[in-house]
């Protein structure tokens, strides 16, 4: 059964996403910190975007840079890397309006509770980010249903 993704707006500047994964923290952490794995899931197929390159120097102070097919780049720096339990990074492409993302991995009985928080410098920045990131999805979302059917079928085969 699919685990539930919940989103809560904790304050006018912070949004928190929660999800449980059926695997130990070290595996989920690996998927977040190895570029070849990260690339597989960060850009859902339904977004219709492709990740051209993904450089991640995952250590405190290390930089990351994601470049999309449309020439768009996202970059920033890891400010905290604690293996299997915590990742903190900054988004710097928007200048001073960048957010700080904190991801925590908490293992319980072989499953991992993941909590992701995005803290923005202002309410306006969060409003804009939420709308902007998600706007790209709206038109392609009808495709997601079809995709999920396909995924369901392929899971059935595996």
């Amino acid at each position: 059964m699919k685990n539930r993704t919940t989103v809560e707006r904790k304050s006018e500047r912070e949004i928190v996403v929660t999800r449980t994964f059926d695997g130990p923290a070290r595996i989920v952490f690996e998927a977040w910190t190895k570029p070849e794995l990260f690339k597989k899931w960060w850009v859902p197929k339904s977004m219709g975007m492709t990740l051209v390159s993904c450089e991640m120097d995952v250590r405190t102070g290390g930089k990351y840079r994601l470049v999309f097919g449309q020439g768009m780049a996202f970059f920033g720096r890891y400010t905290e890397v604690t293996p299997h339990s915590r990742l903190v990074w900054t988004n710097e492409e928007g200048g001073d309006n960048g957010s700080v993302t904190t991801v925590t991995f908490e293992e319980k009985g072989g499953k991992t509770l993941l909590v992701l928080s995005e803290l923005y410098p202002s309410k306006e920045a969060l409003d804009a980010a939420g709308t902007g990131a998600a706007d790209a999805l709206v038109e392609t979302f009808q495709q997601l249903d079809e995709l999920l059917v396909t995924l369901g079928a392929s899971v059935g085969r595996a």
Partner: protein
């Protein structure tokens, strides 16, 4: 007459940050209810429920009306569409992402099992 037009998303999000208040909205989405009904349903004192309803009312999400001796609550003029749409789009993005991540996690788990077997052999 109070105007809610200028109340931005923040008042709504503050109002929605509480599970009881979200429950009250869901409830009122199905049918109007008195504060007494709501207090009973949520296992809460009348005073406690009045406070929650007050927060929802100030955010424009609920309106109350006194009919005889009973105060009835219903979904307010500012429906939740805007707030819900914002959150829902955000949720869909992460949900889609995490569905893909599930597959990566499964793959890694399978690989570990295979490696484990190889080591034992």
């Amino acid at each position: 007459m109070v105007q809610y037009v200028n109340v931005g998303l923040d008042a709504s999000f503050a109002a929605l940050s509480d599970a009881t208040r979200r429950g009250v909205l869901e409830q009122l989405g199905r049918a109007e209810a008195s504060i007494t009904d709501l207090a009973e349903k949520f296992n809460m004192t009348l005073t406690g429920m009045k406070k929650h309803v007050g927060v929802l009312e100030r955010a424009g999400l609920v309106i109350t009306e006194k009919v005889g001796r009973v105060r009835t609550c219903k979904i307010g003029p500012r429906r939740l569409e805007e707030e819900m749409a914002w959150l829902e789009r955000y949720r869909q993005l992460w949900d889609a992402r995490f569905d893909e991540l599930d597959k990566v996690v499964e793959e890694l788990k399978r690989n570990e099992q295979v490696d484990g077997r190889k080591k034992r052999e």
